[in-house]
Symmetry: none
Subunit: 228 residues, 2 copies
DNA sequence: TCGCCGCTGTCATGTTACTGTCATAATTCT
DNA sequence: AGAATTATGACAGTAACATGACAGCGGCGA
C-alpha cells in the first residue's frame, strides 16, 4: 500500500539524493534518468506520483508532463516539478503543463516530503466517516466518540478500531488472523493471542452498559459482533 | 485567513469586474477564463469557493460543477452560478448541478457580495466574520477579541485561528495534518509536532477560566473542541 | 538604523497511556 | 479426566503526547 514515486532526473547525484529521501520516508522510489526510460517504466507499471525535473536532456520536463496529461491512462497521476529557477514565469509554465505542484532547487528534504505528502493527500479519498449504530452502540468516526445506551465510553485507539470494524461488518465471524489484517494492518507481526487481550479490553469497556454480550466468541474460529 | 474565490468566466470584462469586487471585499480572487485552466488551478490549490459562469466556451458551467461535485476532493467547495437570464433559474435548479446559489446578470456588486457571504457562512463557517460563541467562549473575528466566561483574554494570531476553526467545527476530531491544512494553509511546511505547541498555548490562555478542558486530546487521532 | 518585543517553529526532556506478551486460571470439547 | 482453547490480570517497553526552553524572524517605535 506504499505509494510508488517515479523520479525523472538526469543528474545522477540529485537523482540519488531524491531516491534516498523518498525511500527514507516510506515510499518506493522508481528511478529514470531520461524521458525514454521513464516512458518505459510507466508502460510497465503506473506510479502513484511523478517527480519531474524541469530540464532534461531529450524532452523537457514540461513536454513530458503534457504527454502524461494527454494520455487517458496517466492523466490522473500527480506531478511535482523540480525547477532550478525561481522566476514566476517558470512556475506558471509548470502549472500550465499540468503539474500539481512545483519545487525550486535547492530544496530541503523536509520541504520535498511535505509537498509529496500534501499532493498525495489531495488525491487520496478519505475513509468512511459515517456514524455507525447497532445494538445500542453508537460510534462516530469523525468525533471519535462511542456511546453505549447513550452513555459515553472511553476506548483506546485499538479497541476503537476493532469496534468500528465489527460494527461495519456485523454477524460475520473473523479469525484472529483476519482481525489482525483488518484492524492492525496487513504486514504487522503481532502474536495472535494479542487479539484476545484487546477483545477483553473492548468487552470491559462495554460491560457497564451490559452490551459486552454483543462481542461473541466462536470457539475454534474467532470473534463476532452480533447486534441481534 | 482570507477566503480565496475562483472566478470562472470567459468574458474578460465581466471577469475583471467580478475580480475587482471580490478583492474589494477582502477576498482573494483567482481568475480563470475557461474550464481547463480552472481545473489546473484547482489541482494546484483548492479555492474556498467557485464563482461559475453558466455559459462557457469549452465545457458548460453545469458540467464543470458536476465534475467538482463528483470528485471527493472538491465536493465540499461552495459554488455560485452566474446566469444571464432569469429563465435559466429553473434550469439551474432543475438540473441539480449542485450549485449552492445562483445569481442572474446583471447583478449589483452589493447583491453578489451578500450572496458570497451568505454561502460562506453556510458552508465555511470559519470564513464568515460572525461572532462565534460556544461552551462559554466568545470569539469575534472582526474585532479579533476573545473572552472566556466574560473575561477578555489574549491570544496570539495562530492560537486565535485555531480557536476560531475549532469553534466553528466543534466535536469533530482533527488530525495534526488536517489542522495544518486548515489553520496554517494548504502548502505550508511545518513540523506536525508544532501543532502540539500551539494547542498548549491555547490551553494555557484558556486555563485561568477553567475552559481549557474544552480542547481535548484524542490519542492517536488528534484534537477536538468539545463545548459539551 | 538599531534595539526591543512578541510570535513562531523546533527541539529536548518529562509524562502518560497504550500495547503486546506472558503466566495462569477458567472454560469447553472429546 | 485430559486436551485444547479462550479469559484474565499483571507488567515492562514504548509510542504518543505535554511541557519548557530557545533561537530566528519581523514589526515597531525610539
Amino acid at each position: 500500500m506504499t505509494a510508488s514515486i517515479l523520479i525523472v532526473e538526469d543528474e545522477p547525484a540529485i537523482q540519488e539524493l531524491l531516491a534516498f529521501n523518498v525511500n527514507q520516508c516510506g515510499f518506493k522510489a522508481i528511478q529514470a534518468l531520461d524521458v525514454m526510460s521513464a516512458t518505459r517504466l510507466i508502460n510497465h507499471a503506473l506510479p502513484d506520483m511523478v517527480l519531474l525535473d524541469w530540464m532534461l536532456p531529450d524532452t523537457t520536463g514540461v513536454e513530458f508532463a503534457r504527454r502524461l496529461r494527454a494520455d487517458q491512462r496517466t492523466r490522473n497521476i500527480p506531478i511535482i516539478m523540480l525547477t532550478a529557477r525561481t522566476e514566476e514565469r517558470d512556475k506558471v509554465m509548470g502549472l500550465e503543463s499540468g503539474a500539481d505542484d512545483y519545487i525550486t532547487k535547492p530544496f530541503s528534504p523536509r520541504e520535498l516530503m511535505a509537498r509529496i505528502r500534501a499532493v498525495l493527500r489531495r488525491r487520496m479519498p478519505e475513509m468512511s466517516e459515517e456514524t455507525v449504530s447497532a445494538g445500542g452502540v453508537e460510534l462516530s468516526p469523525t468525533t471519535h466518540r462511542v456511546s453505549a445506551k447513550g452513555v459515553k465510553l472511553d476506548l483506546g485507539p485499538t479497541e476503537f478500531r476493532i469496534l468500528h470494524f465489527f460494527m461495519t461488518h456485523p454477524e460475520r465471524v473473523y479469525s484472529r488472523t483476519q482481525l489482525l489484517d483488518q484492524v492492525w494492518g496487513d504486514h504487522v507481526f503481532v502474536e495472535e493471542r494479542t487479539v484476545d487481550v484487546h477483545i477483553r479490553r473492548l468487552r470491559q469497556a462495554l460491560e457497564p452498559s451490559g452490551l459486552d454480550i454483543l462481542v461473541q466468541t466462536v470457539r475454534g474460529s474467532g470473534y463476532r459482533f452480533s447486534p441481534g
